[in-house]
């Protein structure tokens, strides 16, 4: 078939396709174009797209002019982008993700999560215990200025001060915790890229640091205000650190032990889980920041309330991670 004939025969179809694409991008233009001939409905779009792909293949095979091929290629490309665009986020999907998909994903990577928990809580509890018997070890973990700062923050004689901070109001600290803690969580995940080394480092560092502060303050008798402060937000925050470490470890395993996949493929698959875990970690850390800023700092609350709320959060979050999404059918 000659090019002229081909063009004449299919020109209306291409015009309609193009005006549909334009109309989709600019709804006001669509209303204007509704009277134009050949504008098809959205349901006809995939079929029209396939036909234009076929026209492009024909044009290339028959050696039609560059101009025509370019034009068809442009139409195909723009249609491709519309056809394969990501779904808009939906509330239903978000609720399902946090209720079921995220806990399920955490359990699916139970090995990485277990190792991360062992690294973090092992070093955390180990240091606390060690400092009760050898309090002078605190000086090899922190320098004197840091120790003085921690002691000032949790001095029991300074009863009317806000718990757990040097200065700043609740709302300001909320902003600070979001910026600081969530960024640390995200970096912990990405750091696993280097054969897990970064994540292992962050987990151990945080375990030693937090355990060091807790152990030192407990050893010198400042434990009361400290534990009252951290009890509330400890569950979401520490578990989020462990899960970010675990997410980093499973990413690093793609480099160390990709199994029967190429390393590139293993990284892509680990990356998908990493992004989903990051979303859950983000939610946990925002919640932790909220608790830390507005609840943990309240000084006058009786111990019973503080510790039972903290304990309740531990139970609820562990229950969520353990049971969430279990028994439920996969959503379509």
């Amino acid at each position: 078939m000659k090019q002229d004939l081909f063009q004449a025969r299919h020109e209306p179809e291409w015009k309609a396709f193009e005006s549909w694409l334009v109309g989709r991008a600019r709804p006001s233009a669509k209303r204007r174009a509704l009277d134009a001939d050949g504008l098809f409905s959205d349901l006809d779009f995939p079929a029209a797209y396939r036909r234009i792909c076929q026209h492009l293949a024909l044009a290339q095979r028959r050696g039609y002019s560059v101009l025509l091929i370019d034009r068809l290629q442009d139409l195909v490309h723009r249609g491709h982008i519309v056809l394969y665009r990501p779904q808009p986020p939906s509330w239903h999907a978000a609720v399902h993700f946090f209720a079921a998909d995220f806990p399920r994903l955490v359990r699916q990577h139970w090995r990485a999560m277990g190792i991360a928990a062992l690294l973090f809580f092992g070093s955390f509890i180990g240091v606390i215990v060690a400092l009760q018997f050898r309090p002078e070890l605190a000086h090899s973990l922190f320098d004197a200025a840091d120790l003085a700062r921690f002691e000032a923050m949790y001095d029991p004689s300074n009863a009317d001060a806000k718990l757990g901070r040097e200065s700043g109001s609740d709302v300001k600290m909320f902003g600070f915790y979001i910026l600081n803690n969530v960024s640390i969580g995200f970096r912990t995940i990405a750091a696993g890229f280097f054969a897990c080394i970064g994540s292992v480092y962050v987990l151990l560092f945080n375990g030693l640091f937090l355990g060091g502060v807790a152990g030192h303050l407990t050893a010198i008798g400042y434990g009361g205000p400290f534990w009252r402060f951290v009890a509330g937000h400890s569950a979401p925050e520490l578990l989020a650190i462990v899960i970010s470490g675990g997410a980093g470890l499973q990413l690093g395993m793609a480099l160390i032990a990709p199994g029967r996949r190429s390393r590139a493929r293993a990284f892509v698959e680990a990356g998908i889980d990493m992004a989903k875990l990051a979303l859950g970690i983000f939610a946990m850390l925002v919640f932790a920041a909220f608790v830390e800023a507005f609840w943990s700092s309240i000084g006058w609350m009786p111990d019973v309330v503080k510790f039972s709320v903290g304990g309740l959060l531990w139970v609820l979050i562990l229950l969520w991670l353990w049971r969430g999404g279990r028994g439920a059918l996969h959503a379509p």
Binding site: A59, G63, H80, V182
Partner: protein, 211 residues
């Protein structure tokens, strides 16, 4: 479908534009929010967080794979199969930014981009995405507008494309170089020197559908 991967330089330029834009937003808001006291400070810190972590993801997913900087440079983030980038790949490639930034000034990202055939940084490799050039927005307007000359042979598309590309670049070449190249096609043009160049440009016009 053609995808033309963007090199390190345009990507760095796009990043620089985004960086300046974000700095400008921070600067403007820091003036406004300081008036709000502690609440303003909280909003300011959350804004910093959003500009660092959320800005690239939201723009890439909701704005056809383009942050403002990429739009200015005519770049777009797509999945490796050319489909628009979704939430998960975009989150992956922007989380991995922290790796590519190491040890200084996107050092790892630069090295990876220079080694990789498609100049992907580590984030692109893990997310399976590409940064590509948008198709030439000027079309073929850079080819000189000369009267069309019918080609004596029916040429396949790739050969037509080569002749059109020659016409588009002709202005950047010296007349001597143009003639040198055109002389290679003597069997097609049946001429040498300046006449051959004119015939080739004319054929390019006819391939482009000009009269």
């Amino acid at each position: 479908m053609r995808l033309r991967a963007a090199g390190v330089l345009p990507r760095a330029a796009a990043w620089a534009i985004d960086f300046v834009l974000r700095m400008a937003v921070i600067w403007v808001f820091s003036i406004l929010l300081v008036l709000l006291g502690d609440l303003g400070l909280a909003l300011y810190l959350i804004l910093l967080f959003a500009l660092f972590w959320l800005y690239p993801v939201l723009f890439e997913v909701l704005n056809d794979g383009q942050t403002p900087g990429k739009r200015a440079l005519g770049l777009r983030v797509v999945n490796a199969n050319g489909t628009p980038v979704g939430w998960v790949p975009s989150i992956v490639r922007n989380l991995m930014r922290t790796v590519d930034m190491l040890p200084l000034f996107y050092g790892f990202g630069l090295v990876a981009g220079l080694i990789d055939r498609n100049s992907r940084r580590f984030g692109d490799m893990v997310a399976d995405t590409l940064v590509v050039h948008l198709d030439n927005p000027h079309g073929h307007s850079s080819a000189p507008d000369v009267p069309a000359v019918q080609s004596p042979l029916s040429l396949p598309a790739a050969d037509q494309g080569a002749i059109v590309a020659f016409a588009e670049r002709a202005r950047q070449l010296t007349p001597e170089r143009q003639q040198e190249l055109a002389n290679l096609l003597q069997p097609l043009t049946q001429a040498r020197g300046a006449v051959a160049v004119q015939r080739l440009l004319g054929m390019a016009s006819s391939f482009l559908g000009r009269q």
